[in-house]
Symmetry: D3
Subunit: 244 residues, 6 copies
Amino acid sequence: MRIKIIVPLLTSKYNSAVQEDIAPYIAPDVSVTVVNLDFGSPSIESRYDEMCSTPDIVSKIVESEKEGYDGVFVSCVSDPAISVARELVDIPIVGGFEPAALSAGMISKRWGIITITQSCACLIRDLATLAGIHQQLACIRSINQPIDELHQAPGKLEEVLLAQIKKMVSEDRVTAIVLGCTGMMGMAKYLSREMETVGMPIQVIDPSAVALGYLQMMIRAGLTHSRLEYPKLDLRERDMSCVK
Amino acid sequence: MRIKIIVPLLTSKYNSAVQEDIAPYIAPDVSVTVVNLDFGSPSIESRYDEMCSTPDIVSKIVESEKEGYDGVFVSCVSDPAISVARELVDIPIVGGFEPAALSAGMISKRWGIITITQSCACLIRDLATLAGIHQQLACIRSINQPIDELHQAPGKLEEVLLAQIKKMVSEDRVTAIVLGCTGMMGMAKYLSREMETVGMPIQVIDPSAVALGYLQMMIRAGLTHSRLEYPKLDLRERDMSCVK
Amino acid sequence: MRIKIIVPLLTSKYNSAVQEDIAPYIAPDVSVTVVNLDFGSPSIESRYDEMCSTPDIVSKIVESEKEGYDGVFVSCVSDPAISVARELVDIPIVGGFEPAALSAGMISKRWGIITITQSCACLIRDLATLAGIHQQLACIRSINQPIDELHQAPGKLEEVLLAQIKKMVSEDRVTAIVLGCTGMMGMAKYLSREMETVGMPIQVIDPSAVALGYLQMMIRAGLTHSRLEYPKLDLRERDMSCVK
Amino acid sequence: MRIKIIVPLLTSKYNSAVQEDIAPYIAPDVSVTVVNLDFGSPSIESRYDEMCSTPDIVSKIVESEKEGYDGVFVSCVSDPAISVARELVDIPIVGGFEPAALSAGMISKRWGIITITQSCACLIRDLATLAGIHQQLACIRSINQPIDELHQAPGKLEEVLLAQIKKMVSEDRVTAIVLGCTGMMGMAKYLSREMETVGMPIQVIDPSAVALGYLQMMIRAGLTHSRLEYPKLDLRERDMSCVK
Amino acid sequence: MRIKIIVPLLTSKYNSAVQEDIAPYIAPDVSVTVVNLDFGSPSIESRYDEMCSTPDIVSKIVESEKEGYDGVFVSCVSDPAISVARELVDIPIVGGFEPAALSAGMISKRWGIITITQSCACLIRDLATLAGIHQQLACIRSINQPIDELHQAPGKLEEVLLAQIKKMVSEDRVTAIVLGCTGMMGMAKYLSREMETVGMPIQVIDPSAVALGYLQMMIRAGLTHSRLEYPKLDLRERDMSCVK
Amino acid sequence: MRIKIIVPLLTSKYNSAVQEDIAPYIAPDVSVTVVNLDFGSPSIESRYDEMCSTPDIVSKIVESEKEGYDGVFVSCVSDPAISVARELVDIPIVGGFEPAALSAGMISKRWGIITITQSCACLIRDLATLAGIHQQLACIRSINQPIDELHQAPGKLEEVLLAQIKKMVSEDRVTAIVLGCTGMMGMAKYLSREMETVGMPIQVIDPSAVALGYLQMMIRAGLTHSRLEYPKLDLRERDMSCVK
């Protein structure tokens, strides 16, 4: 089984860290390729960014299917390009939000999301509304830090996230947390462990771990998006100037 | 007061018909300019079409603000580009869906939408979910006809719509109807009249009529989208290759 | 186009202030008449008050239609008499709540209402439930001041409202505010400006501004309440002792 | 324990039938008085009727408390005057809708209401929305017959109700039925029995039976409406021209 | 009329207190028998406890019907065994949760539950979700004390409950409270009185009072659970090793 | 990685068929053991059956953890014993319903469930309500056939399911189907193929395929149920007579 991960950045500098981070989540018969974008926004932190990056993500998904990949994970919690691409390809495609959010409902009936900025919080709240899961979603909090500042001061991100998560347990009474940015990779296990130490034994969900497991499940089960929900478009009959 | 209407087609051939159609909905102190797209999909009937046309719609909205327009109506029931553009401009922008859907709740507590294709029905259902109004929305039906076939056989569209609307009243028990495509212009009054004749006195909502009234209201009230909901982006600090 | 505004008080002393306040929201081809009640409660701040004032509001709406008015705005956020009157007349009628609440959903997906007393807060919460919009309504707060005290100490109302609205942004995380009393006229612009100054750029919705824009839209669009939702009553066949 | 039943008609001709019908639902230590209205609509089948009859119902509730009654049942499924009266008296008051609707949720998770006219269906749907129980309410159907025609042709009402209820089971898949008019008294047991005969063993809920049981429970439990929900009004400080 | 109360403990030591406590809620023509369990958990404070005690509760309900009882109240707010037993018997059965929760909606539109432990809070939240009433349920709080510690220090339970309930009024803005454990018997009236003293006149609902009133209503009305919702099982054709 | 599948039947006769059926859904580094029950109901088709079988399922889950299994799948769409066992063990446990239902929301926003009997339909509807996903769940239909009749007439099950699924697409307008019984194994692919042939290209979700993929994901991601949601019980301090 071959999976393509699209990290929607204009740089490949995090790709090896991504490969290392996701290794435990991949079955031995699965090979994973990580790619980035050739054009679009440097990162996706607004609806404008999403618009700019969507065409190239779609192109790379269409290309992945032609190359024989069995599925694609777009590594971003705003699920960019997912619904568009489903009109064009038959292989399963997942983003970072939906699998994590739906899985949260399996292990908790009252959970929250922690993300990076107010802009992302609004984007994610719209995705939660669309997914029909707002009933269990007790809160969306943000740490108010853009993604490129996240990893600058070592230990700073850990500290800020931990402080917010403690509030989510004590004030919002959640029993699980979804990390609302794939740039928080490596944090989930640390945070779970720290929370257990302080007597708040909460599950922290890493969106990449869940999305990749989900995608492998879909491929093995022969599942993909519904054609009645996403009627197929034939790109040969269409102007292709939008996607390369 | 100056309003720009963006009809997201690559042709201007319907513009004079649009001007004539919307004239009754415009106050005497309001001037309206109708423009089209320079690039994008020929029409918006899928998520792919929406992706292709969004960048040029956004460009034209940004341009409208620079030209001093007081507000913009994007004449399409899938509300394309609306949320992206709100990050970039301060003037109010409306699409065809939200004003019509929210107004339906004013005149009926159980209403339905009639649109053109299954693909549009899914797009519109997602918009209704996002708008949080699914409780009153009893059904979305489609006539299964792409937009370019709509006006070909004279009287055909009227006939097909009337048949579906009768079913929506008798089977789905709705008390109002939203027309789910701005290409159905001129139909609302005809359908209301015919339905009254057959003893089913139902309101049929024309999305353009409502959107334009809504936009004039926002401009007079000094209302626009919330900056906490759509944090402002400064395009000067951003790569502008996505919008012209 | 002729619009009647019913200010449901037993005094006409605020009428000229109302005329001045709403002037910017009225198109040049629209004339507005403001009237008051001949009997009923001095103001509407409870369900009992609403019961007492409803018959005369209904009478004045029936009369307005006979006089050839094109629509009526009942200037009160508890939407008194609206649904009763819709059974009796064909012209569109709006109150202060529904247009403001439905418009809030256009500019924000998480908003709140600020009103005067606990009693009004309960009345308004019921209206929100009826309108099916509770999903986006994050909170209803009250300033705990009856309406006749509102304008007594100059600057006091501004201060109290501003304090509550700041809490609604920081604690309830709303991105827009609906003013829950038409007696708060003139406050919306002041509050928006002040909130921008303190770095919380939130939209504050004046219910009269929105209702009047909404009503003009309905009149131009030829829209009115659904007869399937509000079956017509013939008052000639009915005992008229309830309305004058 | 003393209970007052207000049958909101201008005639007393059904009172003895009511007394007989409700006898099985009353504990031996409870005495019941049935009264009617002195003014108002002949019956409550529209929002206008409700407005006309509400003041006298409220007066009679206030009077009941003064006379030492322990609780009041307003025998009408549109729950007229209930929320107004709760601002004025301390004793528990119930209408026909809320107890029946909330009890339906105890014996079924998918149920429906059968009422007399489209107008009543809309009124009742609004009450269901207000009560927050729309999730379980699968349908509201009407037999399209005004209340004064209900008992004219013997056996006709039974036949019409039975036909609709069969459809509600087979088409709407409900597992319980609420009778949406107190004028359908005596029907619940007949309909339950007939439905069992045809292999559709469904519970049919008589609103009077449930409301009276509910009221007795509230009185014995010392429960009444919340004063935080319905702040108390002092009528001595108010104009009393609205209620006699 | 004969009612059986099953107090799901392995001891009878509270039975006479229960008899005394519920006496005011019982009509004079009703006799009440209180029984306990022969096997199961000492008390029901977790899902495991519920599993352990359910078979004997079911046995005792089946037995009650054979003995000619008209209805059964299982005195526990986690409603254990209720839905299972409904498949086996025809007489009405109620637990402590559903009647109290549905009744709360009659006297308040925004209410909360106070229970003993986090585990019970999760159990109860699931019941609320199942009952479809989460819209009005503003919060579930717990006092974090297991049931056997509840009555140890005299006055301690009163104090702890009062402190939490004050917070529920001021912070969660509820207008009524449901006591989330039948072990809190005798508290409701005390708490209502104390809250009135401090100017927060809130109704506190005792689950046993409401459940017993509810049960008497069902018996007098001839109501029971729907057979379409709980299809009847014939235990003679089944392995009986699960229930004694 | 070692997974235990508990097929909650008293016979092992389907185990090799199960092993064969699920083989494609299992990664090469995963070994699967299938076990059955020693006591309980012959199959789970009612709430009574669920009560009878739950204790032995719980015992077998506790035993699995002691034996070092990494996770357990209880192969039944009524999710029996899942929430109880989560209080006792740390390893992830899934049933047939939740993973399938949550995954349906990934590939469709309007889907339905097809199950075997009315009793199962009610059980499943309660699970859907608990999972908070009723918004997207358009219908639950049943084929009205107990599980032991399912495989008797060859081809009969296929035929009956296909007929119902066609109705779900045309009448209920769903875009995906969840098979509501693990006894329908092998049907999903057949039904998907047949539906594509008739021009209704719908995804049919096999609950075992999804649950096993889900479980593998949880194990690889180090995810399990939240301890704040399911507080841990120590069985050593508890009476163990309920589980063997």
